[in-house]
Amino acid sequence: MMLSRSAERLYWLARYIERTENTAKLVSVHMNLLMDLPKGVEMGWQQLIRINGAEAVNKFYEGNKLANERNITRFLLTDASYPGSLFSSLSAARENIRTTRELLPDEAWQQVNEMYLFAKNNLETIANRRSRVLFLNEILKGCQRFTGLLSGYMSHHHPYRFIRLGRNLERADMTSRILDLASLLLSESRSDELRQYETILWMNILTALNALLMYRQHMRSRIEGDDVLNFLLLDNNLPRSISCCLLEISDCINELPNHDSLPEKLLELEAYVQAIDTHQTTQPQLRGILDDLQNKLGELHKQIADNWFLRMAVE
């Protein structure tokens, strides 16, 4: 037995925690990437905002003139007026868990609350790189503790399924955006000098999705852009690949009551992803495909909301 309202809040709780973690990871990997690149190459801080959509770009330039590291990290991490920032996501996660505490183990609330208080008290520390790294590590650990304790302490029943649903939808969305970032960075780094750093770029993309080790074990060859794309889109075992996220979503949906036509919709989406041929696509085509994928994920969210969250009329 589960309230529709609770289902909705747990779903969003999971999305926001996932978004918090992904944002932390993304910024920390990007910092890392910059340190590997030759001095004087300012490789695309602004792209971190571009992958979050046109609204994010407009919002950023409302409050900032320069797209430099300082402004962009502040915008992405601590700007409470930007709903996509790490701090906004974490605050939203806390609001959602505050209203669903009764469904979750006590530790879950305490974990999110502690993390929120930590972030709130340390917003200033992100100004310099060293303390920013510490801040991001703390957040990443906190998100993992949260995910781990739910997995270990909570029955894997309907409430948990809505958490998994939210987490994987958000994760798939973020993976597609990180792939988008890769193609953006590549398209602007056509100079020969930068070309030699392509491998480093792809390594960082894999790291952003915690996939570097798994990629090496899986491919057992040097890192190639096409292979990385393939792996991150289509591998059925890598937790952050699009395909794996869709399998998780499909798994949850099939076990939830009243799933209507959602399982069929999901099969279509899985087939669509599997049909992407990364070896045959050009850079712009890839960007089109990723855009399309993000739209399809957006539609999937709408269908989930219609199915379980919207208030049913009185019969």
């Binding site: 037995m1 589960m2 309230l3 529709s4 309202r5 609770s6 289902a7 609001e95 505050r98 209203t99 505490r101 009764e102 469904l103 006590d106 609330w109 305490q110 609350n113 502690e114 208080l117 309907h158 939830l256 009551p257 009243n258 379980w308 208030r311 049913m312 009185v314 019969e315």
Partner: protein, 483 residues
């Protein structure tokens, strides 16, 4: 090194723990010994540990202000308040007696009204009570109990006697803080709790669950219980969520529930509509059902009263129970105990002057500067006058307020309510306290071992409400004989 007890004053009022600066009462002997064994910065560390625990556990209450709703950490004093189990057993008996009589009275008010007909209380007092709901006449809730959950406020005067200050029979709050206070104390003073025999309090959720199950409309091993909250912006939302979690109930808002044509209550779930048997409602009568009470309420459930009257759902507390939670009706409780139970009241009332009586009104107006005057139907310490602590101007302003609506005011002597040592800037100072035990009544009656001790943190203040700068303490009922 200066003692934390230096200049501790026990002449302000009855002090719960100390005879004098140097001499603890027998019940607080072990505690004082322990506190004296700690270094000063040790005590500060414990206090910080408690504050950290409160932040992390997210124990909060919401305060409304101009800047929006603020979630404030629960102010907690780490020094516990102690009551001897011998005394407590008498108080417990007195509380059960009191609530039993109050429930007899509410049943009577909505039925034959013998108490009124026999002239024990003027009928206007009932008819003009804001919380008398004529819609409830003729209803018979399970076990004839209307007030299932009651929080009764007790204070000790300088004579050492515990008086009943008021009975909260509508939606009393605070029990979650009582429970959490003990959790924090266990964290902060683990050594101490090992050595002292303190009655446990953590069975409250089980008792609450049993009581709620016992009032289900149909005999049912597993009735569907929900906690109905006005939502996140209510000052007691933390408690609603906490209790729902503790008793394994769904926490619902009005919009999660729907009453269908069959006059049954359902909740909207991911599997469709599911029937609800028992509602522990934390919404005032006024907002419960826009079809019957306030039309503009968006917090309630249209048709809820219909379902309740049809006997398809139990509401705790029953609508209309607040008729006995009127400070004028309060004055008649000792008489109710004699009338319905044929017993003498175990716990005394505070002497009360009813401004609806001409004589009493004159007395109140003449002695305004010495008395406490309260509105009959407010809670949270709002809208009251504490004569000795008010300016002459405020007293005069209040005089007009009373004269405009005498039915709605009562006067009481300003009690010298007891104090207990409270940690203030690294030193112990006496602060005024009260006690709110919680009483559950369904098939059986249960009283918490102790209750929520609230403390007025401001020096000299008598107002203990959290919304007005009050804090709280853990409350220990200590069994000395068994040591």
């Amino acid at each position: 090194m200066k003692s934390i007890w230096e200049n501790y004053k026990t002449d302000i009022a009855y002090d719960e723990l100390m005879f004098s600066e140097f001499q603890p009462r027998p019940i607080s002997h072990s505690l004082c010994q322990y506190l004296n064994s700690l270094k000063k910065n040790d005590i500060d560390k414990r206090k910080m540990a408690a504050e950290l625990a409160i932040m992390e556990m997210g124990i909060t209450f919401t305060v409304y202000s101009d800047e929006g709703n603020i979630d404030r950490a629960w102010p907690f004093d780490i020094i516990p308040r102690i009551i001897d189990a011998k005394e407590w057993r008498i108080i417990e008996k007195g509380l059960k007696q009191r609530l039993t009589a109050l429930n007899c009275f509410i049943s009577d008010v909505y039925d034959q009204q013998h108490f009124i007909k026999e002239g024990k209380i003027p009928s206007e007092t009932i008819n003009t009570s804001k919380n008398f709901r004529k819609e409830c006449i003729g209803m018979k809730p399970s076990h004839n109990v209307w007030a299932n959950i009651c929080g009764t406020d007790l204070v000790r005067d300088k004579d050492g006697i515990m008086y009943v200050l008021e009975d909260n029979l509508r939606v009393p709050s605070g029990v979650s803080y009582m429970l959490e206070n003990r959790v924090i104390t266990k964290r902060v003073f683990p050594e101490l709790l090992q050595d002292i025999n303190i009655l446990p309090i953590d069975d409250y959720p089980t008792q609450l669950q049993d009581m709620l199950s016992s009032i289900a409309p149909l005999p049912n091993n597993k009735p569907r219980i929900v906690v109905l909250t006005p939502g996140i912006y209510n000052s007691a939302y933390f408690e609603h969520a906490y209790l729902a979690q503790q008793i394994g109930a769904q926490l619902v808002e009005g919009s999660d529930l729907v009453v269908k044509q069959d006059d049954c209550v359902y909740m909207r779930t991911i599997e469709g509509l599911e029937k609800v048997d028992v509602i522990y409602r934390r919404i005032d009568d006024d907002f419960l059902d826009p079809e019957v009470f306030r039309k503009d309420s968006s917090l309630g459930v249209p048709g809820l009263m219909r379902a309740w009257k049809a006997g398809n759902v139990a509401l705790a507390n029953a609508p209309g129970a607040g008729v006995a939670d009127d400070k004028v009706v309060y004055a008649y409780v000792p008489e109710m105990i004699r009338y319905y139970l044929n017993e003498e009241p175990i716990l005394p009332n505070v002497p009360t002057y009813l401004c609806s009586n001409k004589e009493d009104l004159d007395y109140v107006l003449e002695h305004l500067a010495e008395l406490v005057v309260k509105p009959a139907n407010e809670s949270g310490g709002y809208g009251m006058l504490v004569g000795p602590h008010s300016t002459a101007k405020a007293v005069e302003a209040f005089r007009k307020v009373i004269q405009a609506d005498p039915r709605n005011y009562i006067g009481q002597p300003t009690l010298s309510i007891s104090t207990a040592p409270t940690l203030c800037k690294g030193k112990l100072e006496p602060r005024h306290i009260d006690l709110r035990p919680f009483i559950l009544q369904g098939e059986n009656t249960f009283v918490t071992a102790g209750g929520l001790t609230r403390v007025a943190l401001k020096k000299g203040s008598l107002v203990v409400n959290s919304s007005q700068g009050g804090g709280s303490k853990d409350t220990w009922i200590i069994n000395r004989e068994e040591k």
